[in-house]
């Protein structure tokens, strides 16, 4: 088993190098340069000062050299400084964004699981009932509604017309003057809309998924057996069927780990949440290569880790996989 894990880790190293190489190439091949975004078509900026900027950022060197330099620094966990004028460390820039995004994503995930699982189970056990049909419609609406539109509608209703909830941001202007309880309340009020709107789309997919795995399990022989031996329906569904139906769902949860730090650009933009999505989008727009690469590397590492974790779990659970790999 240990050998298997070791082998997987070693195998993921060339994969990681490949990912960084391709990302590096792609972002450098895209037209535009970090020095150009604010200086193009600005008559106050002379060609000489532009050339000097390029030299300062090392952009006048050949691409392979630039990549090797970057890779060598990154191998020592130094992701360099951002090309934006503040010149802050990439790790610092990412570090201040991750908690916000992670916290929001976890909350959303929690809401999704808490609502989607019951919906999925109920509509599976009462297939073709009124509830099932109603949730099906609800779910497809959820799928179809563009998040930004729903967000704007909710903001207009709850924020502008009713004035119940704050529209955007993470806290109020007078936050620092609030009491401890007031601060908590203020945070929750700000989170309410983003979390609810953000989980709406996911709700749809997840409850559908839960429904179908549940339906599959219910048709299995051992459920019939359980029913035949006279167990109460509650026991059959929640004890025997649910456990087995949950397994694939848990896998999906595991695979969405890298998504947790990704954040959503449109979503964060609308609610003015300073998260990873905005940082990444802004960096791409400004061609801030060090930050882009930093985020991509973190994403790649997390994805590889997630896959590794899932494989290990499978191997632990399923002897067939373990044995075939060790042979």
């Amino acid at each position: 088993m240990l050998l298997y894990i070791l082998r997987r880790i070693v195998l993921s190293i060339p994969l990681l190098i490949g990912i960084t190489l391709i990302s590096f190439l792609v972002i450098h091949l895209a037209p535009g340069e970090p020095t150009g975004i604010h200086t193009d078509l600005n008559p106050r900026v002379t060609a000489a000062s532009k050339a000097q900027l390029r030299h300062l950022y090392g952009l006048d060197e050949p691409l392979p050299i630039q990549y090797l330099k970057w890779a060598w620094r990154s191998a020592r966990l130094d992701f360099g400084r951002s090309f934006s004028p503040d010149g802050r460390k990439v790790t610092e820039k990412i570090g201040e964004r991750i908690p916000v995004t992670l916290f929001l994503s976890l909350l959303e995930m929690l809401v999704i699981v808490a609502i989607a699982l019951p919906i999925g189970i109920l509509s599976a056990t009462r297939q073709y009932s009124f509830f099932d049909k109603a949730t099906t419609i609800f779910v497809f609406i959820g799928f179809a509604i563009p998040t930004f539109w729903l967000a704007l509608l909710c903001m207009n209703l709850f924020g502008v017309h009713l004035g119940w909830l704050p529209l955007s941001g993470l806290k109020s202007m007078d936050y620092s003057s609030l009491s401890w309880g007031g601060k908590l309340l203020d945070r929750i009020r700000h989170l309410l809309l983003p979390v609810l709107v953000g989980s709406f789309g996911g709700l749809a997919g997840f409850s559908r998924y839960m429904r179908s795995t549940m339906l599959e399990v219910i048709r299995q022989d051992y459920i019939r057996t359980a029913r035949a031996k006279g167990l109460p329906e509650r026991m059959v569904i929640y004890h025997h069927a649910l456990r087995n139906a949950l397994l694939p769902v848990v896998t999906i949860l595991g695979l969405s780990v890298p998504g947790l730090i990704g954040g959503g650009v449109i979503f964060e933009t609308i609610f003015a949440i300073p998260g990873m999505g905005q940082l990444f989008y802004g960096s791409v727009m400004a061609r801030d290569y060090p930050v882009i690469m930093g985020i991509l590397v973190i994403g790649a590492v997390l994805t590889l880790l997630g896959n590794l974790l899932a494989d290990i779990c499978y191997a632990l659970v399923d002897p067939r996989i373990r044995l075939s790999k060790e042979r």
Binding site: N42, P85, K93, V160, L167, L185, P274, G275, L279
Partner: protein, 553 residues
């Protein structure tokens, strides 16, 4: 009586009602009405008073608090509250002293001697002196400083400190834009000397001489500034500036209506259609003034068709500028007739104009040899139909709409127009730099010095330079050189007047429109007087009367 479905006890399990109750508590927890909803009469002018906060919003976060190395507008906007230059523009675009009390230009017009204000202190208490100016100059020309603005300062022949409050710069030849280049923000020598400017803590915690002190910056969220009680022009009335970063313009508009933002700019649509209701009128004042910008259709003069001045003039007659202003800007703009906006001293109103006249356009084209010989409705010459592409950049809806209107008007006189929209980076690097365009719709910002050298001089045609339409006129070249190398405003005015006449006659650009800058500010802020330079020139004299103040720190 049967209960409605939603209140039947069994329809909603207990946890749902608990949730609903919690929601009610949360939403009403701040039972007092939210800011902006209380009935305060904002129409009274009141008496000037210190205090209150103005909440500004920006689409993008600032990139650094050392504005000399940044190129984004958010950084520059914040910087203008924190730093000063030696000179600045007043409300009519006259150059006046800022950190400099006065200045003299030597009789040979080669050097400028600035006499600095005495007793000005940096926000940390250290006195501002001529050494700081010299330091800023040296920083700007240091090749290790990542600044895009070194060009103006590399022209300087020598810079000397003549005394604690006297600073002199000398140029190899008289250079009019030089004076305003000293509007560059002056940085504190005692905090930056000998350090790498990119890694300086001042990038995040600036220390300036300006009307506002830096307080706090939460990346991607907000920037907080507080009035400088010792500001040399007097303490600003408005105590705090909160600069919120709200990246989405729809959210920003909703925030404005909900009272979360006090001052923002509006689109023509928002200005005319979405801000007219009585509630809005009571709470906000709208301001409009000519923007420092114009939009134009530029011809690639290397293209033989557009090298013919009759063709360019014909196209100018065929385009209805008023229609473009009416449709694209909803009337909130003025016709552009040249490279300056109409309310500046350098603007020349007596130039050739091109009123909409399709008949004249047709006859000019016929003179140039463009006739519809095969009867397909499209003009042709030597067997080639008149068909060209208008190029513009992605993300600018107004330019796109302008292109569409021009497309329609030109099709009516028998010219087939295609529109191509390119993403900014490839727009610049692929199309503009390599001259791979036939015509282009773009805009320039104006309002600084009237110098036109970089855009119109025939020497400025290298790939990275700005005369990308390849305009060449020896007389204009000569006048431009003359205009930039004298400080005598009468001589300059004569030069630029003539240039405007030639440009209007030769029509290398079709100057389309100068839009209005549209902004909205909460009605409690008084003392705002729109002028050619906009509204923010007298910001430190804006005030909120005591009884109308909203935020009490």
């Amino acid at each position: 009586m049967p209960l409605p479905w939603y209140s039947q006890p069994r329809a909603w399990p207990r946890w749902v009602s608990l949730l609903l109750a919690a929601g009610l508590v949360l939403s009403c927890a701040r039972g007092e009405s939210p800011p902006g909803r209380t009935e305060v009469d904002y129409s009274r002018p009141g008496k000037p008073a210190y205090g209150d906060t103005i909440v500004l919003a920006s689409i993008g976060d600032a990139s650094s608090m050392i504005p000399n190395i940044t190129g984004d507008s958010a950084s520059h906007e914040i910087a203008s509250f924190i730093y000063n230059g030696l000179v600045k523009y007043d409300k009519d675009y006259n150059i006046v002293g800022d950190l400099a009390e006065s200045w003299e230009i030597s009789p040979d017009e080669l050097s400028i001697t600035f006499h600095l204000r005495k007793g000005v202190r940096w926000h940390d208490g250290v006195e501002f002196t001529a050494e700081d100016v010299l330091f800023t100059y040296r920083l700007m020309i240091d090749p290790r400083t990542p600044t895009p603005y070194s060009g103006d300062f590399l022209l300087v022949k020598s810079a000397q400190v003549l005394g604690r409050y006297t600073f002199r710069v000398t140029y190899p030849k008289p250079f009019a834009p030089a004076l305003m280049s000293w509007g560059m923000w002056i940085l504190p020598k005692h905090l930056l000397e000998g350090k790498d400017v990119r890694e300086s803590p001042l990038n995040r915690h600036p220390v300036g001489t300006g009307p506002y002190l830096f307080r706090e910056w939460k990346t991607g969220e907000m920037i907080l500034l507080e009035a400088n009680p010792d500001y040399f022009e007097g303490r600003p009335y408005i105590q705090r500036i909160l600069y919120r970063i709200i990246p989405d313009s729809a959210t920003l508009f909703l925030e404005l209506k909900a009272g979360g933002v006090d001052w923002t700019s509006l689109s023509p649509l928002q200005y005319t259609r979405q801000t007219g209701d009585a509630g809005f009128q009571k709470q906000f004042r709208k301001y409009s003034y000519l923007a420092n910008a114009y939009t134009y259709l530029g011809f690639n003069l290397k293209d033989p068709r557009f090298a013919d001045v009759r063709v360019r003039q014909a196209l100018a007659y065929a385009i209805d500028k008023q229609e473009i202003i009416k449709v694209v800007l909803l009337g909130l703009g003025e016709e552009a007739t040249g490279p300056y906006k109409p309310d500046t001293w350098v603007y020349n109103p007596r130039v050739k104009r091109y009123p909409y006249d399709p008949e004249r356009a047709r006859s000019l084209l016929a003179q140039a040899g463009w006739k519809d010989t095969d009867g397909d409705g499209i003009l042709d010459k030597e067997g080639r139909p008149f068909r060209f592409t208008i190029l513009t950049n992605q993300g600018n809806e107004q330019r796109k709409m302008t292109a569409e209107i021009i497309q329609k008007r030109l099709s009516q006189i028998g010219i087939q127009v295609d529109i191509r929209i390119a993403e900014w980076a490839s727009f610049i690097n692929y199309f503009i730099k390599n001259r791979r365009f036939e015509t282009v719709i773009l805009g320039w910002t104006t309002g600084q010095d009237p110098d036109l050298y970089d855009i119109w001089h025939s020497s400025k045609t290298l790939p990275d330079e700005f005369n990308f339409i390849s305009y060449r006129n020896p007389q204009v070249d000569k006048l431009m050189v003359q205009g930039r190398h004298t400080f005598d405003r009468r001589v300059r005015k004569a030069c630029y007047d003539r240039i405007q006449e030639i440009l209007a006659e030769e029509c290398p650009y079709i100057f389309l429109y100068v839009p209005y800058s549209l902004s909205v500010i909460h009605a409690r802020f008084k003392g705002i007087q729109p002028a050619p330079a906009g509204i923010s020139y007298n910001f430190i004299r804006w005030y909120v009367p005591r009884e109308q103040q909203r935020y009490h720190p």
